[in-house]
């Protein structure tokens, strides 16, 4: 009889260990089914959380072979085929505090969610008795973001959170913020943008794990990008903003990036000097010619076209 083996990363009252369970293979079963099978027939102490088992409630997110997913919609057949093994490693999702075994602590995440005022500031022309009004087109602009099920998969492998959770919010928090920013009925988009800006909006490292993990095919990294655009338009500026604007200026001037002036534009003279000028660092590594500081790059062939295109795009955005 074919056996499926789960290697489960367990945790209880300060003790971490890996425990192995094997059970008879059955076709077309889910990872969650296997967990329930173990709890029912092998080890009642195995602890995990599940609710809807149809991928709409977000309760059963776990790491399967290193990757966050919903246990209820992930099939044993698919995982064993994809990874070429009947042994499956299961762990709690990352960047959450583990309560026990696969159960993680969501309560601790609520205050982080609240940072961005995750509720609507309804425009004054609407009221409780009449509700609101919205065009079908405006509805389409944000409805995808309302599909977030707060499963935490986007946060699990987020490299920024893994490095430091204190100065960055979980990706779904930015998605939630952007849900209101893009909602035509919200009177105060900056009430969501400002706190996002204050809490790590520009610290996303673009590792794209959030987009790859989302079981609902949402794109938190894109939400971060959209929020950055809104923040920038509203005049909120920091190193990240200046860095991005410097890129665009270079694109406009020569079509390409000037690494030498980039750090000056981003960090400012004082900060650059403090950190060891990026340009000096490049120079020290034999990577650039310091003359580039004074002798500007030549514009690319067709720069006129490039400038025309950028201006036309700016015009179209207006």
């Amino acid at each position: 009889m074919r056996q499926i083996t789960y290697k489960i990363h367990r945790y209880n009252e300060g003790r971490s260990y890996v425990q192995t369970y094997s059970f008879d293979y059955e076709p077309d079963r889910t990872i969650l089914w296997g967990l329930q099978k173990i709890k029912d027939t092998i080890d009642p102490t195995l602890t995990f959380i599940a609710a809807c088992r149809s991928a709409v409630c977000g309760a059963c997110s776990i790491k399967v072979n290193g990757q966050a997913m919903l246990g209820c919609e992930s099939k044993i057949d698919d995982i064993t085929e994809r990874f070429g093994s009947d042994t499956i490693e299961i762990a709690p999702i990352g960047n959450f505090d583990v309560i026990r075994d696969l159960a993680v602590d969501w309560e601790a995440k609520v205050n982080r969610l609240k940072t961005v005022a995750p509720w609507i500031f309804m425009k004054p022309e609407f009221n409780r008795d009449m509700g609101s009004r919205q065009t079908p087109e405006d509805f389409k602009k944000f409805v995808t973001n309302t599909e977030c099920i707060l499963c935490g998969c986007c946060a699990s492998e987020c490299n920024k959170l893994s490095a430091n959770r204190e100065d960055f919010l979980d990706p779904y928090v930015y998605t939630k913020a952007n849900r209101f920013v893009q909602d035509s009925r919200d009177a105060a988009p900056m009430a969501h943008v400002n706190p996002a800006f204050e809490h790590g909006l520009w610290k996303c490292v673009h590792c794209m794990n959030c987009i790859s993990r989302c079981p609902k095919h949402l794109k938190p990294a894109k939400d971060i990008s959209e929020l950055r655009a809104v923040a920038t338009k509203a005049g909120l500026s920091n190193k990240g903003t200046r860095h991005a604007i410097a890129f665009k200026q270079d694109l406009m001037q020569t079509g390409r990036l000037n690494e030498v002036t980039m750090s000056l534009k981003t960090d400012g003279l004082v900060d650059s000097a403090k950190q060891g000028l990026y340009a000096l660092r490049l120079w020290a590594h034999g990577k650039i010619n310091p003359l580039e500081l004074v002798v500007p790059h030549k514009p690319v062939q067709g720069i006129k076209d490039v400038r025309t295109i950028i201006k036309a795009a700016e015009e179209a955005e207006r």
Binding site: T45, V56, R100, G131
Partner: protein
């Protein structure tokens, strides 16, 4: 000890709406306890929509029509005064949800979109694509966060505790993270813990959470369970998981096949075939399985729905959602494979007996109940699609209002002694049950309950089988007393929580069985093989089951309120 003015149990649509209502009142101490993160409840799974006469699509629709459709849908078992009250409040509650920011789909006039739903005269079901429950629940959660509702998350209701005068004193709850029994004193208590579909374990569309905890706790606290036998089944759940699959698969011309490859509906409804009514189809499927013409065994048995003969475009365009579900949860692409299906339990119409629909108050002063946990009764013997979300928010709010009004008129009762006793009792029970090294595993008891309930008090009921089931349940309740839990740890002991849940389910299953035995007629979702007709002369009344001091169930009845619609034969 925690001390509140209003305590809500349950974080679905009804619970969160109730908490929000109380939180809107200045100066009240409000908390909500929930055994899981507040956005996971059954409300999130409701797809279709929420009913209310807004006239955004059908100008001719009226409150009167909605009342009539609901009463007729209930097979005249709903209380008509309560239905009238309910229907009148639906539009304001939907508009309020809209004002809270719920992303409703829109009409060309920028208003909330409404669509047709079964059993209704006009398109009055407001929706947000196929995720209406999900967006409503998340919107309510957003509002609760905004109003700083105090969530006691990962706390699990154990028992309701009464003060000496018989009114609510508080609850004892299991703090799952800390692993200890907590005492919570409260003046008013709202129970909104949802249904009990998990008594059929995998043969339900309900989440694992729907274990009837609040129903069972209220039952022990002296409330009656009203019409518990009224359980709604859906003919086409997915085979392995019980997840609901829309009827479109039959509507578009799909075949139902048994393991011989026969379109078995020819033996049950030769002219209508697969398009026969829900109950006929459900019965046909169950008969095929019972007579060995399905696949699999026990609760895993199934027949299949086959759409492979349909044009590919029909499957890809009109059955898109079904195809996704089948691929994801049954590993079957309907383009190339048949889909395993079987009926599934969907909704508990019955529940905690609400004595005053204007407050959601029960027989216990200070105790209120709302949503699927409660029986107001507005669904009677059969609930209309789109009326459950409306029920949750309307009566969630009403219960919140009722609790607030109660707090304004009543002082907090000192129930410290009773709370201590209850807490000590549960602490001892925790140690005793988790410490056992022998006994029947709790999962076995659960599985036997589910399988036998499905076979004996499932969709089709008859006296003899139900008598058998009653004996089985009594035996299981005995075995439960010495069952094996198997986890002594205090932190997040889900085995202990599951143990209490199975206790709740057994408690409710017995009431369902006794109610179904009392009702010697067929009405709405309650189908008796031995009494195929509705019998208004004897059973146009509610089943009312209470718990006696000695632990026995007392089965009685109460009147159905009929105001303007005299019972007629229910035809569509």
């Amino acid at each position: 000890m925690e001390q509140y003015d209003v305590l809500v149990v349950g974080s679905g649509g009804a619970g969160q709406r109730a908490a929000l209502e109380a939180a809107h009142q200045e100066g009240l101490r409000v908390a909500l306890i929930t055994k899981i993160f507040p956005s996971r409840s059954a409300t999130a799974m409701a797809q279709g929509g929420i009913n209310g006469v807004l006239n955004n699509v059908a100008k001719e629709d009226t409150i009167e029509d909605h009342i009539f459709d609901t009463v007729k849908g209930s097979d005249y078992l709903a209380d008509q005064d309560a239905v009238e009250f309910f229907i009148n409040r639906c539009p304001e509650l939907i508009k309020e949800l809209d004002y809270f920011g719920t992303p409703f789909s829109r009409t060309k006039e920028n208003k909330i979109a409404q669509r047709n739903f079964g059993g209704q005269a006009y398109p009055r079901t407001c929706y947000s694509a196929d995720k209406t429950g999900h967006v409503i629940l998340h919107t309510l959660y957003e509002q609760c966060l905004k109003e700083n509702v105090h969530f006691l998350q990962d706390w699990y209701l154990l028992d309701i505790v009464k003060a000496d005068d018989g009114s609510v004193g508080g609850v004892v709850a299991w703090n799952m993270k800390e692993g200890r029994v907590e005492k919570i004193a409260t003046t008013a208590l709202v129970i909104a813990t949802g249904g009990a579909g998990r008594m059929y374990w995998t043969r339900t569309s309900n989440p694992y959470l729907s274990t009837g905890d609040g129903m069972a706790a209220c039952f022990r606290a002296g409330c009656a369970l009203k019409d518990p036998e009224m359980v709604q089944f859906h003919p086409t759940g997915l085979g392995k998981s019980g997840i609901l699959m829309s009827e479109a698969v039959r509507g578009e011309g799909g075949y139902l096949l048994n393991n011989k490859g026969e379109r078995f509906m020819k033996d049950y409804a030769p002219s209508k075939m697969e398009l026969a009514p829900r109950d006929v189809v459900a019965k046909a499927i169950e008969t095929e399985i019972a007579e060995g013409r399905g696949w699999g065994t026990g609760l895993d048995a199934y027949v299949v729905a086959d759409v492979r003969h349909l044009p590919k475009e029909v499957i890809l365009e009109k059955l898109h959602g079904i195809r996704d579900l089948a691929i994801t949860f049954e590993h079957a692409d309907p383009l190339v494979q048949p889909i395993p299906i079987r009926p599934t339990c969907h909704y508990s119409m019955g529940g905690i007996d609400v004595k005053d629909f204007k407050t959601c108050g029960t027989v216990v002063p200070g105790l209120f109940a709302a949503g699927e946990a409660a029986c107001v009764s507005i669904h009677g013997a059969n609930r209309l699609g789109g009326n459950s979300l409306a029920d949750a928010v309307v009566f969630g709010k009403v219960a919140g209002e009722g609790a607030v009004a109660y707090v304004k008129e009543n002082q907090a009762k000192d129930a410290a002694k009773a709370l201590n006793e209850a807490a000590n009792g549960w602490e001892q029970r925790f140690r005793e049950v988790t410490g056992r090294t022998t006994g029947r595993p709790i999962s076995e008891i659960r599985d036997e309950m589910a399988l036998t309930m499905w076979n004996n008090v499932g969709i089709f009921r008859e006296e003899k089988k139900m008598e058998e089931e009653l004996a089985i349940l009594n035996r299981l309740l005995e075995e439960y007393k010495t069952c094996y839990v198997g986890d002594t740890n205090r932190t997040f002991n889900m085995a202990f929580v599951n143990y209490v849940e199975v206790g709740s389910l057994l408690t409710i299953a017995k009431a369902v069985t006794l109610g179904a035995m009392r009702r010697k007629e067929s009405r709405g979702s309650h189908l008796r093989e031995d009494y195929a007709k509705r019998d208004d002369a004897n059973f146009l009344n509610h089943t009312v089951i209470t718990l006696k001091e000695d632990g026995e169930y007392e089965v009685g009845q109460s009147e159905v309120v009929i105001t303007r619609f005299e019972p007629k034969e229910r035809t569509y």
